[in-house]
């Protein structure tokens, strides 16, 4: 130790006041990350209004119907929350790897495999206490999702394969695998028109939250969003992830276990998406069938980007998107528009949000003030 260089200056000057002349930066920065997406949403809404006018429909009627369909009554609010709950989890499948700078878009694969794993273990274990079975189903679903997305992470970290492409292609493989198993080895002979696995049994299904029609998947999603917010922003693990995402070379220079961080973050994201699939089986379908591949994984991408990959911001964004989806039926009936109209709006929002990324740092007022 006697040969170690301990520089005196760092300690002797420790009490000197740091020259600070831009105390407000932190708040302006936060405001920027709210205003820019807000601007994008307004632009997307304007574009969609134009689209409606071209179809001879009134944008105001549309807003009114969306409001009523999504939040107008206790029923519609519950419907919105139901639609939002798988999206909370699939958005995390994008947002967690995104902390390391990865763009994972194959959450759909983890959803179907998670649902399949959960549905597959239930019938052989019939007879054990429902709560225990549900826990085991959750573990199975999360593991399946974790392995699938973790594999995309492993390919990235170890073999340098682009994770966006590999996760998307893995999702196709997962869906094909799912179809093969559901229509083949695990098919319930009783399911004629819609090939499905065997029923997990009504007694083993999740119940509803007291006084509502909402299943516990919503609670899982909210807990997961909060827990991962804490993990990412309050722990050393999360800090290491964000360093890796911000600069791979800096992370390597600091000796951070980059490979491990990438695989863990991808596996955690995959576990979330797998849980979404399990909930879909245990709370809605009661079995695994093609309804699992309903696009939750893809909608999660949109939400994660809307939330700027912040797990807490995923909650309100999932509710907004859930509300849009929930009002789709009403719009179809009242405005005589196809169901896909809502998808057009979603697409416009996505493009606007992606385009708005270029606006960060463009407005001088948000930027750090220079030294006088």
């Amino acid at each position: 130790m006697s040969d170690s260089a301990a520089l005196p200056s760092a300690t002797t000057l420790a009490d000197a006041p740091a020259p600070v002349f831009d105390r407000g930066y932190r708040y302006r920065h936060a405001l920027e990350s709210i205003l820019v997406p807000a601007l994008a949403l307004v632009l997307a809404a304007a574009g969609f209004a134009l689209f409606l006018i071209c179809l001879g429909q009134s944008p105001l009627d549309f807003v009114d119907l969306v409001w009523r369909g999504a939040f107008g009554s206790a029923f519609s609010i519950q419907n919105t929350l139901l639609k939002a709950s798988p999206l909370l989890l699939t958005a995390l499948c994008v947002a967690l790897p995104a902390q390391l700078g990865l763009v994972i878009i194959g959450g759909e694969g983890a959803v179907v495999l998670g649902g399949l794993a959960a549905a597959a273990i239930a019938p052989p274990l019939a007879g054990i206490p429902p709560l225990l079975l549900q826990v085991l189903m959750m573990i199975a679903g999360m593991s399946a999702g974790a392995v699938w997305i973790g594999f995309a992470g492993w390919l990235r970290a170890k073999r340098g394969i682009n994770e966006t492409i590999s996760s998307l292609l893995l999702a196709y493989i997962a869906i094909a695998l799912f179809n093969h198993i559901v229509e083949g080895p695990l098919r319930d002979p009783a399911s004629l028109n819609k090939p499905s696995t065997a029923d997990i049994g009504a007694g083993n299904m999740f119940g509803y939250l007291p006084g509502t029609d909402v299943h516990p998947g919503l609670i899982f999603g909210i807990i997961a969003c909060i827990a991962f917010y804490i993990l990412i922003f309050k722990t050393s693990f999360g800090f290491g992830c964000r360093v890796t995402g911000g600069s791979l070379r800096a992370a390597q220079l600091q000796g951070l276990p980059v490979t491990r961080l990438i695989i863990i973050a991808c596996a955690l994201g995959g576990a979330c998406a797998g849980l979404a699939g399990m909930v879909e089986v245990a709370a809605v379908q009661g079995r695994a069938n093609a309804s699992l591949a309903a696009g939750y994984g893809y909608a999660g991408i949109l939400i994660a980007f809307l939330a700027r990959q912040n797990p807490l911001a995923i909650i309100p964004m999932a509710v907004v998107l859930g509300g849009l989806t929930a009002s789709g039926g009403l719009i179809q009936r009242r405005m005589d528009l196809p169901d896909a109209t809502v998808l057009v709006l979603q697409g416009m929002i996505f493009v606007a949000i992606l385009a708005s990324e270029t606006f960060y740092g463009r407005f001088a007022w948000f930027q750090p003030r220079r030294a006088p």
Partner: protein, 502 residues
């Protein structure tokens, strides 16, 4: 073709609230080399960018060849015969010199008749005082040749006034002499006028006729080079009467090796040879300088030592313990690294100064045990201490570190890496592109770390820096250590080993 003069009259340029150029006037006589001297951020680049049409001055005008010129875009400057050679090369590396030249023409035809073009190029080359092979890809040329090809391109485009932005920053001493000598001869022949942006005083003294000095956006002085001493120029540049002194190296190096690298080899990039190092040994209280021309394996060496690249064979030992650049090892053995271009290699640009200040320590308690939860209070206190102790100019500790100037990023990373006890300190090009004050500051810190007992490995492409700071000098060429020299060895001799004529 004849050299032209240019004059800037009361040019003012603002970026938002920041005044980059404040009422600057400058007169460049035709057929001369005019040096534009100043620290980083003094406004040199802004001034030439206004002249070249990349920036538009709010107030003031330019007079080119005796006539007032309206330069609003780069093409305008090109038509007037004004061109620029950038610090970083702009030729397409995978294309040949001939292809680069022809493609650069503003009137390049849709279908190129290469036999016609070749004939034109041959006539053009016949009139040039130097030769460059036209049919080899640019990336197979050495740095000096490339720089010459850049100049050649400007001549081919019939530019009569060239702006050279730090033209020698990536060249060896020999190459610098050659390129600047060439420029000088073109100027003396009356072919071109040259404005050279630099902060190397030696080059100003040896190659420029006139000099103008900028400081904080203002023209602070200048005149004929012959009439000004180096001290005068330094004073003008930094506004102080004396150049900051370098801290002396105190105490002799220790006897037992602290850092030992043996038989280190890596794979090469793009067909170039990888590392093939027999031995590098650094003792406590010793600075070992690694000199070499850019691209001879210095980056790979730093990357291996910093954990950014795998070695295919060889051993690294710190105080006789094997070292693989893992986080726990670096922490236990007190190894710190200051990489070149720290904004790209050593910190997270989008994260705050505070976060970047804690990259070494965020997952450790003071006693070295692992820490699961971030301690924001300590991180904040640490950042404040470093900002004060190293004089880091930043709006606040919460701004992204990318918002800081190059010198201040360097100070911040240095503060982080020298925080606490340091046994081994690995540094690469620590002063590249920094102003005089920051350079003196950072070199003093490095010497202080050495005097405190650290073993310092200094990898630098600036031979003057190596000679000034090192106890021992190693020369690296083609990925191998080819020569060892004691402190204060002759620069020409080291330079000849750098290029392989030794």
């Amino acid at each position: 073709m004849k050299a032209i003069g240019v004059e800037a009259v009361n040019v003012t340029k603002r970026f938002g609230a920041f005044t980059a150029l404040d009422d600057v006037s400058l007169k460049v006589r035709p057929g001369t080399v005019h040096a534009l001297l100043g620290e980083n951020g003094a406004g040199k680049s802004t001034l030439v960018k206004c002249l070249l049409g990349y920036n538009l001055a709010e107030v003031g005008s330019f007079i080119v060849d005796g006539r007032e010129a309206h330069i609003t875009q780069p093409q305008d400057a090109g038509r007037l015969g004004i061109g620029m050679v950038y610090q970083h090369f702009t030729l397409v590396p995978s294309m040949t010199v001939a292809e680069n030249l022809v493609m650069a023409r503003p009137d390049v035809p849709r279908v190129i008749n290469w036999s016609v073009e070749r004939a034109r190029l041959a006539t053009f080359m016949a009139g040039m005082p130097f030769k460059i092979p036209l049919d080899v890809p640019v990336d197979s040329l050495a740095a000096g040749e490339r720089q010459k090809a850049e100049i050649l391109k400007q001549l081919y485009l019939e530019r009569r006034l060239l702006v050279l932005d730090e033209p020698t920053s990536t060249l060896t001493p020999q190459e610098s002499q050659e390129v600047l000598g060439l420029v000088r001869s073109l100027v003396q022949a009356g072919t071109i006028t040259v404005i050279i942006i630099t902060h190397k005083l030696k080059e100003v003294a040896a190659f420029a006729d006139d000099v103008s000095v900028l400081r904080r956006g203002k023209m602070v002085g200048g005149g004929a080079v012959a009439a000004l001493s180096a001290t005068d120029l330094t004073t003008l540049m930094i506004g102080e009467k004396h150049a900051p002194a370098i801290i002396e190296r105190l105490g002799a190096p220790g006897a037992t090796p602290r850092l030992a690298v043996h038989n280190l080899a890596t794979l090469g990039d793009h067909g170039r040879p990888g590392l093939n190092i027999d031995a590098i040994v650094v003792h406590p209280r010793e600075i070992v300088g690694i000199a070499g021309v850019s691209g001879n394996g210095q980056t790979a060496l730093l990357e291996v030592l910093g954990g950014q690249r795998f070695a295919t064979s060889g051993t690294i030992a710190i105080a006789d313990k094997p070292y693989h650049a893992r986080r726990d090892e670096a922490f236990a053995l007190k190894v710190r690294v200051l990489p070149e271009e720290p904004l790209r290699n050593g910190c997270v640009p989008s994260m705050s100064v505070e976060d970047n200040a804690s990259l070494r320590r965020f997952d450790r308690n003071d006693d070295g045990s692992p820490r699961r939860w971030l301690d924001r209070k300590r991180m904040s206190a640490r950042a404040k201490t470093m900002i004060a102790a190293y004089g880091i100019r930043t709006p606040s500790k919460d701004v992204p570190i990318a918002a800081l100037s190059g010198g201040n990023v360097q100070r911040a990373i240095l503060a982080r890496e020298l925080d606490g006890a340091v046994d081994v300190f690995i540094v690469a090009n620590p002063c590249f592109g920094l102003d005089v004050k920051a350079v003196a500051d950072i070199r003093a810190r490095i010497v202080a770390a050495r005097n405190g007992g650290a073993a310092v490995l200094l990898i630098s492409e600036d031979l003057d820096e190596i000679r000034e700071l090192s106890d021992r000098i190693l020369v690296m060429r083609d990925g191998a250590i080819v020569f060892e020299a004691p402190a204060g060895a002759d620069a020409q001799m080291i330079g000849s080993h750098m290029v392989g004529h030794g």
